[in-house]
């Protein structure tokens, strides 16, 4: 009369797991300090480093004209802070080319001889702008600035001409575009970077925290005792997950506070929407860490695996820097399974758009929920209740 008694699932076992995990966290003051401080340190450090507002581009000017007008033009380049003249005396083409070669400067402006006399005799003058194509991003923006600077200079000359002929410039027909950017009117990249960076940091930190939790039990042999009890994998996973969700919510609260107070990022959405999304996202990130933790053999492997598995995809495939729409179809497909993608979209929306609610972000919410459930169940299944 043998039976195949499978034991009973009992979600009351989640509570002792939660209490035990809280004790682990509270007792390990050093790790706790890292868990709470690391996100802020990373955010402050990288928010300043990662900026798309390109300023102070190193520029060489070769002035063959050498007149009051050419010097005025040169001054215009440096007036608005976009360019910084590299050794102002460096007035030879050879020196500039060499400087470009050894990365001392990014661009060269060549003012042709006789510019001012040509202008006075109403001829077209061509100013050469040379850019270092090995740094496409800086140079394409720099060339844009150069274009605008020269165009403005040309326009001011034109206006002077018009005025000298006794015509009121205001009576001339002109069609002008009036660009207006909503939600972030000054196009401050910090408003765009900080929410994205917060998502990436939380992805890393939260996955890292859980990635250690199961493998630590294995390393310290407490795993063997646990599996000999009737505690079920899902009960253990949920108990651990709840603990870390609480800890990470504190992290997110700190990050959001720093974003608003320190970086002056406007927070226009609702706290409720933010909380809902944070919990959904943490569910995903922590679940991912848990899968890693129940698959690896040592804490070192867990750390490496988590860093590889979260950091690069979250930075490259989430739309944090590179727009997803301009990626090839396959890469775009892969980006769908990067949880940070949805959280970044949600955070940017919640921070900058006043009318953002869960309904307007339901697609992101759904994806996060589905991935979260998937990761939780997968990690419970990966957690084998034997020592094989």
């Amino acid at each position: 009369m043998t039976s195949t008694d499978k034991g009973t699932r009992n979600f009351k076992r989640i509570k002792p797991v939660f209490i035990k995990e809280v004790l682990h966290i509270v007792r390990d003051t050093r790790s706790l300090a890292i868990a709470l401080l690391a996100p802020v340190v990373l955010l402050v450090l990288y928010a300043y480093a990662v900026t798309f507002d390109i300023k102070r581009i190193d520029l060489g000017v070769v002035d063959y004209d050498d007149t009051a007008m050419s010097r005025e033009l040169t001054a215009k380049f440096t007036a608005n802070g976009y360019f910084e003249l590299h050794r102002a005396s460096m007035n030879s083409m050879e020196a500039c080319v060499e400087a470009l070669r050894i990365n001392k400067i990014k661009m060269i402006i060549v003012i042709p001889p006789g510019m001012s006399s040509d202008v006075k005799s109403s001829k077209t003058v061509q100013i050469q702008a040379i850019g270092d194509g090995s740094d496409t991003n800086t140079v394409s923006i720099g060339l844009g600035y150069a274009n605008a600077t020269i165009a403005q200079f040309s326009r001011s000359l034109l206006l002077a001409q018009v005025r000298s002929r006794g015509i009121n410039p205001k009576s001339m027909p002109v069609i002008e575009p009036v660009p207006r950017v909503w939600y972030n009117p000054d196009l401050k990249s910090i408003n765009f970077i900080v929410p994205g960076l917060s998502a990436i940091i939380m992805m890393l930190i939260s996955a890292l925290l859980t990635s250690l939790t199961v493998v630590r039990e294995r390393e310290q042999n407490t795993f063997e005792q646990l599996v000999s009890t009737p505690l079920k994998p899902l009960e253990l996973m949920i108990g651990k997950l709840v603990t870390y969700i609480v800890l990470c919510l504190v992290d997110v609260a700190i990050i959001v506070a720093v974003s608003i107070v320190w970086f002056k990022v406007p927070f226009r959405g609702s706290v409720l929407t933010l909380t809902v999304f944070t919990v959904l996202f943490l569910f995903c990130a922590l679940g991912l860490g848990m899968i890693i933790s129940s698959s690896v053999k040592s804490q070192q492997m867990a750390v490496i695996g988590t860093a590889m598995g979260t950091l690069l995809p979250s930075i490259l495939l989430s739309g944090f820097v590179f727009p997803i729409d301009s990626m090839p179809a396959i890469i775009r497909g892969i980006s769908y399974v990067v949880p940070a993608r949805y959280f970044i979209t949600a955070l940017r929306t919640i921070f900058l758009k006043a009318d953002a609610d869960i309904a307007s972000l339901w697609v992101e919410a759904l994806y996060l929920f589905v991935f979260g459930m998937f990761f939780l169940i997968a990690s419970a299944r990966r957690f084998r209740k034997d020592l094989e």
């Binding site: 008694d5 063997e224 599996v227 000999s228 009737p230």
Partner: protein
Amino acid sequence: MEVISVTGLSKSFKTVKAVDSLDISVQQGEIYGLIGPDGGGKTTTLRLLCGLLLPESGEITVLDRRLPEAAEGVKEHIGYMCQRFSLYTDLTVEENITFFADIYGIKKQELKERLKPLLEMTRLEPFKDRLAGKLSGGMKQKLALICTLIHRPQILFLDEPTTGVDPVSRREFWEILQSIHTEGVTIVVTTPYMDEAEQCSRIGLMFKGKIIATDTPKNLKKNLNGIVLEAHPAFAADFREMIKACTYITDWQQMGERFRVVVKDEASAADITAAAGETANIRRIAASVEDVFVQKIKT
């Protein structure tokens, strides 16, 4: 009543056969000892019986439940204490106990009632608030024992509970086991120490994945094929040379000044006594489980 029944159990790790067609039967209320050297398959056997490893072939029935299918069901009624310390070192004695009690769903009031005698018996009461990592080796083992006893298991599995524990604590630990035993708990224990075999109601001698003999310690010793003598010779070196040359000596061991000698039969015993002479001070002593074990693995 039979609480554990194992037939033809085998388990391999890669190419090593850790457990080789084992048959074990344990009755309710016994202390069953698996005795043998390291690497003999004791730990693997215990893990298989607790449903922590999957058997390769053979039948395991524990408390009328078939393993590995009913492993989760069995786990509710057994206690398992593994060889290495496996509790949370950053939790206090009381927190560790409470955690395991909660896992088994023991109510607060009930825990209080059960814990009192356990803490008294193990004398851990004054250390309730000490972190488990800061306990001595013997106290750690006693704490682990409490954690595996708190849900009143029907069978207690102990994997080398006294390895690395000092002699006084070791003795104390066995006293505790005996008192648990009198309360009716079946105990399955592994140990590399032959002297601990005497504490068991029945033992299985385990060597290279097989049980080479199983019986009560008394019967095993009674059935030893030979006679055990002890000599305390005046000239140890000469005596040593003499017994080395003796063909009818099956086993001998020098212990300081004394020699322990196992011979085949009465005639051989008489021969050696005569040959060694008065100065050797030869007398008959009782056989030990170790004598049995050595004889078994030699044949």
